[in-house]
């Protein structure tokens, strides 16, 4: 049975697509899935940086599409996981050189060998976006609870046709939601009218891990690692309740110690 191809998209840039792709892919790999991550952001390559694999790139997506190498030559294995591979974007070659049909062919090839294929989609709605979406069965829309991000997410939802779309609400600042200066998860769901597969709190630690090229899911003790693990399990159909972020904080951890309810 061919694997599922997800496109991780958002419209607005800088909401955390690449970080989500890297950590969600890592979480799926830790659950034993064969996972391929595809960086479709030709010209603005970043997934390799977040994974710390930038130094090992010899061939890239454009080489594969223009048949200068085989699939296995272009895929880079992340040694810290058992079954996580990266197909990097090209930093030098043009984005225009790749067509939607070529992307569909490459994605179908990957879906044959992998359980899950996650495509890191470029920001915007131009040629790069259309390429990234072309080969995808489902879409995960990453947004933050901010006006501009939600508006762009709504625009993207209108362009994804009848694919299954689910939301990942990223960088939720719990204390601002409490003071009413940030939309709540329910607000975002009500406005965009789609179901949520993950809610990720805003956390400084993630900046450290992306800068060092070490996905946070590598350290299972980290709060965010548990959250990405929960999202991965939801993707695989498991019914994992969404953490109520406010109680996940200091008091939440204390209460959990007392009542012993883990996530």
């Amino acid at each position: 049975m061919p694997g599922t191809v997800y496109v991780i998209t958002s419209g607005k840039g800088g909401v955390g697509k690449t970080t989500t792709t890297a950590n969600l892919g890592g979480a799926l790999a830790k659950l034993g899935r064969q996972v391929a991550l595809v960086d479709a952001d030709i010209g603005l390559r970043n997934l390799d940086l977040v994974l710390g694999l930038e130094k090992r790139i010899v061939y890239d997506l454009v080489d594969l599409v223009e048949e200068r190498c085989q699939t296995r030559q272009a895929l880079i294995k992340d040694r810290r996981f058992d079954n996580l591979y990266l197909l990097p974007a090209s930093q030098v070659k043009d984005k225009e050189s790749v067509t939607e049909d070529q992307m569909r062919i490459v994605m179908r090839k990957l879906a044959a060998d992998f359980d899950d294929v996650l495509i890191d989609c470029p920001a915007g709605i131009e040629h790069g976006f259309r390429n990234a979406v072309a080969g995808a069965d489902q879409a995960l829309i990453v947004t933050t609870p901010e006006v501009a991000a939600i508006r762009d997410a709504d625009r993207i939802l209108g362009m994804l046709g009848n694919r299954r779309c689910r939301l990942i609400i990223n960088r939720v600042r719990v204390e601002m939601v409490r003071t009413g200066d940030m939309l709540s998860v329910d607000d975002v769901v009500e406005i965009l009218g789609r179901d949520v597969v993950g809610v990720v709190p805003d956390d400084e630690e993630i900046i450290d891990t992306t800068n060092r090229g070490e996905p946070i899911v590598l350290d299972a003790s980290r709060r965010l690692a548990r959250i990405y693990n929960a999202i991965a399990r939801r993707l695989l159909g498991e019914n994992v309740p969404l953490t109520n972020l406010s109680e996940d904080g200091l008091w939440g951890r204390l209460r959990r110690l007392v009542t012993g309810t883990g996530q």
Partner: protein, 248 residues
């Protein structure tokens, strides 16, 4: 469809992996007659793949191209015997990565030309004059002053000298040596056509990846942290890339 003609910034890539090659010659002629003057004056690299072929077939391909004003510039061969045959037919052997890497290219080349002339070189921020000077041994040396930015790629049949930094995400590909008078943070590929004697030197050698001829070396992580104190040069020592302080 056996023959694919792919236009890249630096010329044409002809995919001629199928055999017999003579079949490709016929199709090539038919494709080119349908748009006679279209490719006139461009250069082509023949991707001959790895299957054996006849000397006459390769020459026929070159002759056909010449009829349409296309100069067969090089060949990418994944097989030694085929490579020898291509060399004897007068084709330069080109590494796969150099075939893809455009000659001197940064995306600004497609900025409307008139805009660049009209405003002259007023930019004092970073001079961008890349000049190719001929070296005594006939190979050109590409001399580039300024920062080579992420996404830019300089390639040269010959040496490359950069006065300035080569940022991560940028790429230098040369058939000869590479010298960077500044910090080399991107990817440098010297001796791209199999010249094992090529070298890569820089004031601050922090390359993401060093390639000399067929060998590839990945910069070790810890060294990246502490800035190297003095200039270094990377060479190929019995198949492995080693770096030592540069005494130019």
């Amino acid at each position: 469809m056996t023959v694919q003609i792919k236009g890249t910034k630096s010329g044409l890539l002809l995919h001629l992996q199928e055999r017999p090659l003579s079949g490709a010659v016929a199709e090539l002629r038919e494709r080119l007659t349908s748009l006679p003057g279209f490719y006139k004056g461009s250069r082509a690299v023949l991707m001959l793949g790895s299957l054996p072929a006849e000397q006459s077939e390769v020459s026929a391909v070159i002759a056909t191209l010449e009829q349409f004003g296309i100069v067969a510039d090089g060949a990418v061969c994944d097989d030694a015997q085929l490579a020898a045959l291509a060399r004897s037919a007068g084709l330069r052997l080109v590494g796969a990565s150099i075939a893809a890497a455009p000659r001197i290219r940064d995306d600004r080349t497609d900025v409307p030309e008139r805009r660049r002339e009209r405003d002259g070189g007023r930019s004092r921020k970073s001079a961008r004059n890349g000049r190719a000077g001929a070296a005594p041994d006939g190979s050109a040396t590409l001399y580039y002053k300024g920062t080579v930015r992420s996404g830019q790629s300089l390639s040269s049949v010959g040496h490359i000298v950069v006065i300035g930094d080569v940022n991560a995400g940028a790429e230098l590909v040369a058939t000869g040596d590479i010298v960077v008078w500044g910090a080399l943070r991107g990817v440098a590929h010297a001796g791209a056509e199999g010249d094992d004697s090529a070298s890569v030197a820089a004031l601050r050698l922090e390359a993401m990846q060093l390639r000399i001829s067929r060998a590839i070396a990945v910069a070790p992580d810890e060294r990246r942290r502490k800035k190297p104190a003095q200039p270094e040069i990377a060479r190929l020592r019995d198949g492995r890339i080693t770096t030592e302080p540069a005494t130019l």
